[in-house]
Amino acid sequence: MSRTLTYREALREGLDEELARDPNVVIMGEEVAQYNGAYKVTEGLWKKWGDKRIVDTPISEAGFIGMGIGASMLGVRPVMELMFWSFHSVAFDQLVNNAACVRYMSGGLINCPIVMRGPANGGTNVGATHSHIPEGLFAAFPGLKVCAPATPADAKGLIKAAIRDNDPVYFMENTRLYGMTGEVPDPTDGDFVIPLGVADLKREGKDVSIIGHGRSIIHALEAAETLKEKHGIDADVLDLRSIRPLDVEAILKSVMKTNRVVLVDESKGFGGVSAMVSHLIQDKAFDYLDAPIKRVTTMDAPAIYSQHIEDEQLPNPRRIVEKVLTLG
C-alpha cells in the first residue's frame, strides 16, 4: 500500500520514524522546533518529541554544526538543519574539516554519524547568496557522502538511510520540491529505506541518457515526454539520487544502451556533479559514445533575483529538450 504525500511530509515522516527508532537521534537547527521549521519540514515534531529531541539554535552555524559533530563523536546522532544549504559558507570549516577528516586523521578511531540537511537550490528569487547548489562542492571531499532526492518516496527512503549511516551524510533537498506529491509506501508495510549509492532509472528509453539528480529529474522527465511526443526521441532518465557514493554502474549501463548523453545539473558550468560524471563516462564508456557528452547547467553567473528570468538561468525542460536535439 502507499499514500500520496508531499516531499515535505515524506521527509517529516522519515525523520519522525527515526526519532522513534533511536533515542539518540536529535534534530537541531534554526527555527526547527517552536517555529516548526522555516520550510515546515519539521512541523509538529517539537510538539511531539519535546525540547530534548528537537532543538532550536541561535544563528551560529559554525557553532551549532560543530557542536553536532562533536556530539556525534560521542554517539549522539544529530540531524542538523541548515535553513538553506547556502549557509554552509559560514560553517564550511566544520563541514569539510571536522566532519570529513576526523575519522581519517585519527586513523579510523572516530566516526561522525551525522546528517546535515536542508534545501539546496536556486529558483526561489532570493538572490546569489541564498541560491548555491553545493552537491558537487561537498562530494569533492572524501569522507563525506552526499545525496539529493527528487521525489517524496526517495526523500523518505534516503533520509532514513542517511540517519542510519555511520558516516556524515549531506542531504540536499529543494524548496521547489517540498510541495510536490508522490506515492510513498505505507509504514505498516515495513521499514522503507533506500540505500545510498543506488541510482534510479526514473524513465526507460533507448535513444539518449538524461542523467541528473534532484529537481533536474523533474525537468528531465518533462523534457523526455516532449522529446517523445514531438520528436520521437525516447530518453532514459537516470536519477543519481546519491552523488557520493555514486552509482557508476547504472550510469554506464544507460550510456552503453543509448550512446548519447545529456547531463542536467543545477550547478554552475565550471565543475559541478556533471563535470565529474562527464569525465567518468568518457573514461569508462569512450567507445560507446556516438556524440560528445552534453550538459545543461545553470547559466554561469551568480543567481539572479528577477522572478521573470531566474527559471531561465536554471536548467528547465525547454533547455533540456534543446540540448538533446543538438545531439543530432
Binding site: A38, A62, G127, Y305, E310
Partner: protein, 374 residues
C-alpha cells in the same frame, strides 16, 4: 560611554513591562538636536513616512504576486535608519543586512529604482539582480543590502578601514539584527575594530526577535547585547529607538568618537517590527502575542511619536504632516507604475555584471574563457 549611559528604561525584549507612562529622558536638548531647524525636523518625518509608505505599497504588491522571493519589512523600525543616517556627512558610509529598504531610502535612493528592483525589472537599482535584500548605492555611500546574517559586518569594518587608509575623516555605520550578534564574523570584526582603531559604529537594531526566536532564546548576555563590546574594551550604549531625538543624540556621540578618535563602538537600538520576519512569515503572531504588537504600535510607534513631538513643538501642524504623508504615498504609488511599466531583464543580461573586466571589455577580458555555461 558605558559608565555614564543611562540605564535602558525600555527594551523590546522586556517591552511588555513598558507602557506609554514609563518615564522618558528628553534628548531634545542635546546639541545635535538643538541644531535642527524646523525644516530639518520635518524632513526627518518625511523620511520616515516615505519608508513606511514605500513598504506598505510593496507589501500590497508582494501579496498580489508581483514581487518575488523575500520581503523583509522595516515598518516600525524607521527611526533607526532615519535617526542615525540623518547624522551622516559626505565621508560617512553605511551598510546593512537584508532588511535594507529604510537604509536605502534614507541614504537618498529614489523609490522608482527600488520598487522596480522588487518587481525584478531591468530598471531596478540592481537591474533586477539583487531583489529586496540587495539594494546598493555606492554613489550615496550606501553599500547594501546583504543576505547572509552578519556577513556584512566585516565589510562594514572594511569601509571604516578604507576611510582611514584613504585619509578621509568619516565613519562607517554597520547595522545588524539582534540575532546576528551570534555569528562569528561579527565578533572577529569587533576585535579587529577595537585593535586597529577603525572608525566603525556597529548598530544592533534590536527588534527583539530573529525570525521566531526571541532575544532570550538566542543570546546569552549580561545586561544587554551591546554590552558584549566590553569584551573588546569597546564603548557601547543602548538607545530607545522609538525616540528619534535619543537615537540622534547618542549615535552622534558614537560617530564623532569614530571620526575623531578612531574609536569604534556598538549601539543597541531597541525597536520593533510590525510584520513577520519576512512577509512570508505566517507565524508572526504565534511567537509574539497580538497584545505585544499592539502595545508597540500604540505607544511606541516612532512616526506617531515624532509627529506628536513636531506638533507639540509647533514645528508643523497635523495638516502639513498629512500632506507630506500623502505625498510619500503618491510617490510610492508612482513607483509601482514605473516598476510595472519597466521591462524585465533580458536573458542575455544574466551574464552581465559578473566581472568588471568583461563588463568593460578590457584587453584582460579578451583572454581566456570567463564563462562556462553549457
Amino acid at each position: 560611554m558605558p559608565s555614564t549611559a543611562p540605564e535602558p528604561y525600555f527594551r523590546s525584549a522586556i517591552m511588555s513591562s513598558a507602557t506609554a507612562d514609563t518615564p522618558r529622558l528628553d534628548f531634545a536638548g542635546s546639541p545635535i538636536n538643538k541644531a535642527l531647524s524646523a525644516d530639518q525636523k520635518i524632513e526627518l518625518f518625511r523620511n520616515m513616512v516615505r519608508i513606511r509608505r514605500f513598504e506598505q505599497t510593496a507589501l500590497k504588491y508582494y501579496n498580489g504576486g508581483k514581487i518575488g522571493g523575500f520581503l523583509h519589512l522595516y515598518i516600525g523600525q524607521e527611526s533607526v535608519a532615519v535617526g542615525t543616517l540623518s547624522l551622516c556627512g559626505e565621508h560617512d558610509h553605511n551598510i546593512t543586512a537584508y532588511r535594507c529598504h529604510g537604509h536605502a531610502l534614507m541614504s537618498g535612493m529614489e523609490m522608482n529604482p527600488l520598487m522596480a528592483e522588487l518587481f525584478g525589472k531591468a530598471t531596478g537599482c540592481s537591474k533586477g539582480k539583487g531583489g529586496s535584500m540587495h539594494f546598493f548605492a555606492p554613489d550615496k555611500n550606501y553599500w547594501g543590502g546583504h543576505g547572509i546574517v552578519a556577513g556584512q559586518t566585516p565589510l562594514g569594518l572594511g569601509l571604516g578601514y578604507g576611510l582611514k587608509y584613504l585619509g578621509k575623516e568619516g565613519c562607517a555605520l554597520c547595522y545588524l539584527g539582534d540575532g546576528a550578534v551570534n555569528q562569528g564574523a561579527f565578533h572577529e570584526s569587533l576585535n579587529i575594530a577595537a585593535l586597529f582603531e577603525i572608525p566603525v559604529v556597529y548598530i544592533i537594531e534590536n527588534n527583539g526577535y530573529s525570525m521566531g526566536t526571541s532575544q532570550k532564546r538566542s543570546s546569552a548576555y549580561r545586561g544587554c547585547l551591546a554590552q558584549r563590546a566590553e569584551a573588546y574594551d569597546m564603548d557601547w550604549d543602548v538607545i530607545d529607538g522609538s525616540d528619534l531625538y535619543e537615537v540622534r543624540a547618542k549615535a552622534h556621540i558614537a560617530m564623532e568618537r569614530a571620526r575623531k578618535e578612531f574609536k569604534p563602538s556598538i549601539l543597541e537600538i531597541t525597536t520593533y517590527r510590525y510584520y513577520g520576519h519576512s512577509v512570508a512569515d505566517a507565524n508572526a503572531k504565534k511567537y509574539r502575542s497580538p497584545e505585544e504588537i499592539e502595545n508597540y504600535k500604540t505607544h511606541f510607534d516612532p512616526i506617531r511619536l515624532w509627529r506628536k513631538r513636531l506638533v507639540e513643538e509647533g514645528v508643523a501642524t497635523d495638516e502639513q504632516l498629512d500632506a507630506i504623508d500623502k505625498e510619500a504615498l503618491a510617490d510610492a504609488v508612482a513607483s509601482v507604475k514605473f516598476a510595472e511599466e519597466s521591462p524585465a531583464p533580458t536573458i542575455e543580461s544574466i551574464m552581465d555584471d559578473v566581472y568588471w573586466e568583461t563588463d568593460n571589455g578590457t584587453p584582460a577580458s579578451k583572454l581566456g574563457q570567463h564563462f562556462f555555461t553549457d
